[in-house]
Amino acid sequence: MVEDSLSSNAEFLSGWEMVVGLEVHCELKTRTKLFCGCMNAFGQEPNTSICPVCLGLPGSLPVINEHAVELAIRIGLALNCRVDESIFHRKNYFYPDMPKDYQISQYEKAINENGYLELPLSKKRVRIERAHIEEDTGKTTHVGGDGGRIHGAVHSLVDYNRAGIPLVEIVSAPDLRSAEEAREYVSELRSILVASGASDGKMEEGSLRVDANVSVRRSGSREFGTRCEIKNLNSLRSLGRAIAYEAERQVELIESGQVVVQQTRHWNEDQGVTTAMRSKEEAYDYRYFPEPDLVPLCPSKEWVSEIGSRIGLLPADRRKRLTSLFEGVESGSTFDQIVTVVGLGLDELVVGAVEGGADPRLALARAANEVAANMVNQANLSVEAFGELIKMESAGQLSATQAKTVLGKMLESGYRPQEVAASLGFEALDTAVLEALIDQVISTSPKEWERFSSGEDQLTGFFVGQVMKLSKGRADGKVVTAALHSRRA
């Protein structure tokens, strides 16, 4: 996950500190919705996954999906929370995407409270205040006016397929101090959600949505400034940019003698600015009260520990396991690749390939780059096939370029590397053919060979290039280099 740098922002903020807390809404990977048996699926025809319950029809009643509770508990355990008795409340407000005009959520007693998340690079612990269960809303589409925006729309269309999908809202303490940290937090949180099997973590499909509370204060100050909440940030990139912009905006306001007004703001991705959301004149008063249609959740100790035993390895341990395949990588590009691979849940692939005898560094690189770039087809790739490919590449049976091409086809088709290589005509060069090609190059460039032979290493590239050209890309650069050096000796 390579992101653009925000160093300019860090300079601008000298003398200031930003304080950020995040609220992350995560859709749980259940088969059905939180309170009814409608399918929990993305991209259905509008209003085809609805029933009396999730449509809030008069007389309908909610019944809690046990699996949703289990996934919520997994999240709590993975975030080191205290998992305890909880109840549901109603949060009352009118909005057309909410079928009952109240949201069933947890307010006083959340199922998960007081945990923490450790950032992978800095090892800083970000406190998690709570991770509670609630239901998602439907989706409104604005018609007419300014390109689908709410302002200026003539009317709106509502689809309730998403209404009632189980969410866990993860609320951090205001412990984050930079846009980078915020992104690292979300990225690590996403890895945890994916690794624990609670969510697919797809920000682009809205299964992970982030609201950021941002304030600024003078460096060294202990008091918090007035905060603004930026709603619905749906990529790591937007998150970083929005926070950086908002902090700058607040600093500028204060430095020019104005005050920050507490408000909810909207991030405009195209213009790169946050704008105040126009809201109704009255103050919100959600009138929370205990949901009388539901009874308390009292997970037994046995159930919680049984759930804990099913979670499997979390990202920190997964990274440790991968790191142990190398020597001394706690940072740097290899560590970045490890973070990426674990974040995308590709670590089993790498570990499996290495256990099967593949080269760790090569396996890691191919997973972090080529496989990561094609997550859609990842299911087509077996650990065995991936391992074989890495071994073929290491053995020089495939050049790096060929290996990447073969891997791409494997992801699309699910075929074995040998089959793909054969179909593409990527027969490995046999040693005799390679030696013949090298002879041919030496004979056409005798002067350069003399210089190379007497130790001018900078000519390695020239010779490798010539051999590759003659072989029409079939030769492996590393094998050619080795062959050239052994000739020289």
Partner: protein, 100 residues
Amino acid sequence: MPESISRKEVKHVASLAKLALSDEEELMYTDQLAAILDHARDIMALDTAKFAPTAHPLELNNVFRSDVEKASLDRDEVLSQAPASQDGRFVVPRILGEAP
């Protein structure tokens, strides 16, 4: 005794509940709600500290359903009851302001 509810509060509560009141209604409801709340003063005098709040008359917990799909409703049947619909969706007038 101080008023238990003022006309201003009635106005506020009506706006939270999305109800419009005429001036006469505002006055009438202020009087009536005040009378009802005054009647409730008998419990204001009670020492209730030792009683936990009851949200629910049953001592039930952990009532779950299993994560199994059930048939959804027929969209046409549902939309036939809607005040307005278009392309399989419910139509609402323009919305001023995002969800709170």
